[in-house]
Symmetry: C3
Subunit: 208 residues, 3 copies
């Protein structure tokens, strides 16, 4: 017996993979924005476009969820994954937009470090997500999650050092306020990636 | 056969409507406080009273939830609606109290814009909630939700402009810190209204 | 018929009690750090050790959850309790670390008040948790929850007064930024204790 069409449920995996690739692109553009620091408005608006694209993916996942009677993974896990991936993109865009509207003169080295960590973290998310499709791939999920957790701790350490420096070397207090906000967006983005990792581990355990 | 008394489950809808009206009043008093900017302490304490009244409604909803075996909509949706409406009132009060304790001299125009958006957003919530009572009204819910999402985006745009202005025209950095906090309360209040809209849409789809 | 070994499910209660005792120790060390304000680095690293210990307990609870087919209380309540207790410890550590990295000169009296409230709040949590083990103890849970709610309101009032003072007596605006952050960690820790109380009340009602 042959199935002439892809089961609708496969669409969830397609959409999650599309969303994960979008995060990797967003983190990449953020890192590039910080590194090059030119054509700022244009680069930020590219990130905003990715954020709109991410919103669109999220809405398609939720619509698919409401239209599907039996889902390949638990409904609440699907909703959680969609929401947390949406958060990551919002936070990446928030960091980019804040640098623009706060008219920062030059990004700090710490911001560069955080953006690089975010590139690696979203890449791990993007590598982990396709493992959901096949039962024999599920046992590869933990290695990605361990790396995501490690990167989240690294981001934490960078932010603590960055905040200490901000106050210690403080020349302009307005800069302190601006950078605290920008660092906070980037650190929270890695926290949300860790939430994604936790959902993935839960799914793995339930399906094992 | 006739049912001589209103089923207990109707009470949930009564309480949600009472809570929504309370939000509209709270947002209205906040907008008035900002517009008039006189008798400040008295006006703020009126808003605090509404916040206490909101707490009371929330507790009655949760107590009713525990006392009811079969609920008219999913238990988790009831809890979510109650919590998010409670958050909106807390944030409205937070914005009012912060203006008082931070001893701001004059509210900004941006604060006025945000308060006006909040009046419109809570009014949409209050218009959407009664649609839950009757199956033939459920299909009116999306139009309210679309408007709530639009208003939330508007609030976002106002806050971003307001923050850019704060840093750009910055005279007193203490004012920057104070207004960022106050704007954040008001923007988060519109975010929570969007959460309410999402729950309402979910309820509609499940009952359709 | 006799059961020769402790059912595995009892382990959840053991782990929750261990976690609650860890919170009480953490809050105690924070209060001591603020009171004495000497050997700061050493004291903060002791709190960080407790935070790592807390992480370890959380992981054991989640692992136990995945390994247990029938749980003594609802799975989602177990996950919620574990997460919220983890949050409280993170926030206690966050307050301690911030005082160190921000190089604050002397803790404020308000910080002392908040740390003392946190000691009392975590002690109530720790007194309430063992009530979960036995059905005939469940009805003692509300008295702890009422006290936790009262303490959370007290913390709120202290923070509002503290923030008003910060801006009113403001000498150094960098101090305003630092203390707002530290107070926020401590207040949020009492909020998370209130979340724990709400979960405990829910469990009680469901098992009654």
């Amino acid at each position: 017996m042959r199935f002439p069409f892809i089961p609708r449920e496969e669409k969830f995996f397609d959409l999650f993979e599309e969303s994960a690739r979008n995060l990797v692109r967003g983190a990449g553009l953020l890192a590039e924005l910080i590194e090059k620091w030119e054509n700022i408005e244009e680069r930020v608006s590219e990130i905003t476009e990715l954020e709109h694209h991410g919103d669109n993916i999220t809405h398609r996942i939720i619509a698919q969820l409401h239209a599907t009677f039996i889902t390949p993974i638990d409904r609440e896990d699907i909703a959680q994954l969609a929401d947390r991936m949406d958060d990551v993109m919002d936070l990446i865009e928030g960091a980019a937009v804040d640098m623009l509207i706060y008219e920062v003169k030059r990004p700090t080295e710490r911001a560069q470090e955080l953006a690089d960590i975010l590139v690696r973290t979203t890449s791990e998310v993007s590598a982990a997500i396709p493992r959901l499709r096949r039962r024999n791939q599920l046992n590869k999920i933990p290695e990605h999650c361990i790396e995501i957790n490690r990167l989240e701790n690294e981001a934490d350490t960078v932010v603590r050092a960055a905040l200490a420096e901000l106050f210690h070397n403080q020349i302009d207090l307005a800069d302190v306020i601006k950078w605290r906000e920008i660092y906070d967006h980037m650190e929270t983005a890695t926290d949300r990636c860790e939430d994604i990792a936790n959902v993935l581990e839960g799914v793995m355990i339930k399906r094992a």
